[in-house]
Symmetry: C2
Subunit: 534 residues, 2 copies
């Protein structure tokens, strides 16, 4: 009971630490579970115990010099966590800002892709594009740093049934913009009708009691909004031709699409994009741009990050790591030596950097592929999606090249806004990426205008990113095959003598900031343990 | 083309007005539709043309004196719209604040229910309970006033898959708190499996081509996350026993519940609560409390609202309406006379006010029922739902009396927070409403603690509302039967000589602020037309 009473006064972290000191690792979770304080799942974040200065003192060790390559989220987390424990860290970052792919493009932001395509963003005040990560699941470890650093957040509207599906070459509904609610109501309606009737008519051999079958039918009635005879005949869930109003105006329901039309439309295949573990609501993002996260780390890493530092060579001695880098400001070649190195450089970039890694490690790094991903921010002088179409955040999905349009989940009711004109992957991203920024803009406008005819009247300026063409990234995120996870990935997970790899690519939470953070925390823990045992 | 080019420079309202002047009513929508500027649906908001001062001048008429009974959203809208057109309005409001059911309870707010139960809220700064309306669908007319009055808004997290379902007496899963994502994944998985196999084995007589059947099966595979043999064997959508992490930690999926267990749990019947037209994401609410809406109206109605004015009698002469009311401050009886009256007093209250309505109208008012609804705000000294359970907004649903728990969709990461400890309707609301505020608190804590054991350690104070017991409301919202809509409702919709009824109860958008607004706009239009033709 003493422990239980104490928890009221303690933070979860303090409690974990306290119980951890009494009972050690596994016991913590069992106690927390018994008290009902832990959620049924084990979150990665809860498993981490930061390295502690006292451990070093107790072990009669000093904090070592750690060279961290790359100032993205993995590098920043490593430097922050090791710094808190008294380690001397240097982060080498080629750019003049922290964050890596965590990049907010604002008015004045400039970039030249490796093809030579140069852009300068002409976005207005408060208008921005989160070119890389843009949303955070509420249970990701990222939220822990947001909390620790007091970063203001707001919801990221990942689900909006008032936005549209729009497909081409899908039969009857080709070229129709259909509110998501309408497609969902019709698909769920027809499928539930078929299923409910099949259960009712004993067409299915179900391992269920009659009472359970009745429950199943009742569920399907609720799920599909079926009438008492189990028919789907449209539903208010799908919306109205004419909304209900005041007085005698009861409204007029929309007519459902036919089962054939809605089935052929392919809209149903979009539904599950909202179901995936890390895309389910609620999601969040920092107010004013995702770069609030790297900026908050940077503020706490004064003198630790060396910008304009392009790594050119990594080499290891008996008990040290030496990194050569080019100071992009002076053009001079510089050298730094430390006890350990955490290399967070994307493998797509690392493979071209000279390093005395083992042959196995080299070959592993060489064989990894990165995903294609591209975005364009379109600034409009009027938020017509809000004003004319009542869409506040969320996305419209389409089978056109642009794949999706995301409405800004921030500063609602403002005059201007930056709409994400496409967020494309794979072949679509490659096609768009191969275009010049001017062509991308033209293409995004032409396809987007099919859904929003207001585009041409309201458009002001754009900024686009093809991640495969962005220097120091050369890809959206790592993309392992199942085989690679069993082979080369295991090699990448082992330190190459004194060099440890970290980043989203060193996790099973790829493409997420949380992958970079979790990976950094693991490596930090490994290095700390090694130092204690040295 | 001239019109199209013009629209870029004009607001939608200006455009509607301009085209309306050229072509008149119906033509507006047809032109807007052709230009693709209107959404496929006809929104009520777009149909309203505010009364215009110039109309009165042209018709050689003066604005008249309008007496408005009730300072809720319908009364405020009426006074605002008529005031803009030069009418002389007086709003009589019994309370000392505007808004009626639009009520934000803050520290210091006091209220005594008709049973004599008195409460004073002891909420901390920034902590509040929206005791009545708390969320706004993005397409409701309410957003138009929010835009017009520049009221800051933020999302209302009506959907959160990281929150729970918790049911009792439902077999195997009784008393288990289950993340919504897990229940959704399992139900969709099993149902899709059954259906996909039935389609594949030609058990169903479907009016579909083989190609369409394949599309249906593919949809079901995506919907249920089925394997290649169409089995549901769990899904990452349902979450993990142990989340994926860094390095070699691929995570461990949770085991799905059995089909029988999940079917008997009743969780599936909760899903459709998120599907209904006006509960779909995205939803919004004003930052800092829903009373920002009535407060914004009040600011624009200086000298128009007379507070502390309890209406005691409504009587009509040949060409006037006289309203007697009690000044609750002085205790004096007062009288006001006008040309017309808009009565927005809930029918549950109006039926006890002396009025010389027609017998038909009186009988109609008498026969209307109001819904039971109750809420309790529980202030906790720590946001354990965010800190321990990573739940940021959204709701947990249960078959216990408390029905639901809503996590505050605002000021995330704050220390304290007011959680909606129950939002109950019908019999549950009656049961809780019959209790004293102390008993309600005790009951809400006891049931809520089954889901969140942190309750007792973290609880600070509560404030509860039973709408049937709130003076000047006596009910949550109107509740017509289908028959009543065809009979007495039609009577209520006709003015009784010079008295017009308005409010959510005079609409098909009952229980929503939008119903009150739409109703007010209709009545305002009717009165204006009548004045023009006098």
């Amino acid at each position: 009971m003493e422990v239980k009473e104490k928890t009221g006064e303690m933070s979860r972290r303090q409690f974990l630490t306290a119980v951890g000191k009494i009972g050690g690792g596994a016991a913590v979770f069992s106690v927390m579970g018994t008290l009902g304080l832990l959620s049924p799942e084990t979150l990665k974040a809860a498993e981490y115990t930061p390295p502690n200065k006292n451990d070093l003192v107790l072990a009669n060790r000093n904090g070592k010099k750690i060279i961290i390559l790359g100032g993205g989220i993995a590098g920043l987390t490593s430097a922050y966590e090791l710094g808190q424990a008294g380690y001397d860290c240097t982060v080498l970052e080629a750019r003049t800002r922290p964050g890596g792919r965590i990049w907010t493009v604002r008015g004045g932001t400039s970039d030249t892709e490796i093809t030579g395509a140069a852009q300068v963003a002409r976005f207005a005040e408060h208008c921005y594009l989160n070119a890389g990560p843009m949303r955070i699941p509420q249970f990701h470890v990222t939220m822990e740093y947001i909390r620790k650093f007091n970063i203001p957040i707001e919801p990221f509207n990942n689900v909006n049934d008032h936005a549209y599906y729009y497909n081409e070459n899908v039969g009857e509904l080709s070229g129709h913009k259909v509110r998501k609610r309408a497609a969902k109501a019709d698909v769920r309606g027809y499928v539930s009708e078929l299923m409910a009737k099949a259960v009712n008519q004993q067409l299915l051999d179900l391992p269920l009691t009659p009472e359970e079958k009745e429950k199943l039918v009742n569920y399907l009635k609720a799920e599909g909004d079926l009438d008492k005879d189990l028919f789907y005949k449209g539903s208010s869930r799908g919306g109205y031709k004419d909304e209900p109003g005041s007085g005698l105006d009861a409204g007029v329901l929309r007519d459902p699409f036919s089962m054939k039309a809605i089935l052929n439309s392919g809209f149903g295949n979009f539904f599950s994009s909202e179901y995936s573990y890390d895309q389910q609501m609620m999601m969040f993002h920092p107010v004013g741009g995702i770069d609030a996260i790297p900026n908050a780390f940077e503020k706490r890493l004064k003198g630790v990050i060396e910008y304009n530092s392009e790594v050119t060579e990594i080499s290891q001695g008996e008990s040290s790591v030496t990194v050569k880098y080019k100071d992009l400001k002076s053009g001079k070649e510089k050298t730094v030596t430390g006890d350990y190195c955490i290399c967070t450089i994307p493998l797509s970039v690392l493979k071209s950097i000279k390093a005395d890694f083992s042959a196995e490690m080299k070959s592993a790094i060489d064989s990894v592929n990165y995903a294609s991903a591209g975005k364009i921010g379109l600034q409009f002088k009027r938020r017509f999606w809000e004003e004319d179409e009542q869409i506040y955040g969320g996305n419209t999905l389409t089978n056109m090249d642009i794949s999706s349009i995301y409405y800004p989940p921030t500063r609602y009711l403002d005059k201007k806004g930056v709409l994400l004109g496409y967020y494309a992957f794979g072949a679509n991203a490659d096609k768009l990426g191969a275009m010049s920024p001017q062509e991308r803009e033209k293409h995004a406008l032409a396809q987007g205008a099919k859904i929003h005819p207001q585009y041409y009247d309201e458009f002001e300026s754009s900024f686009s990113v093809d991640w495969k063409s962005v220097k120091y990234n050369l890809g959206g995120w790592v993309s392992y095959t199942g085989d690679q996870r069993q082979t080369i990935y295991k090699t990448l997970c082992k330190p190459d003598r004194r060099v440890y790899l970290a980043g989203e690519h060193m996790s099973y939470i790829t493409a997420w900031m949380a992958g970079g953070i979790e990976s950094a925390r693991s490596v930090v823990t490994e290095i700390h343990q090694r130092v204690l045992q040295e």
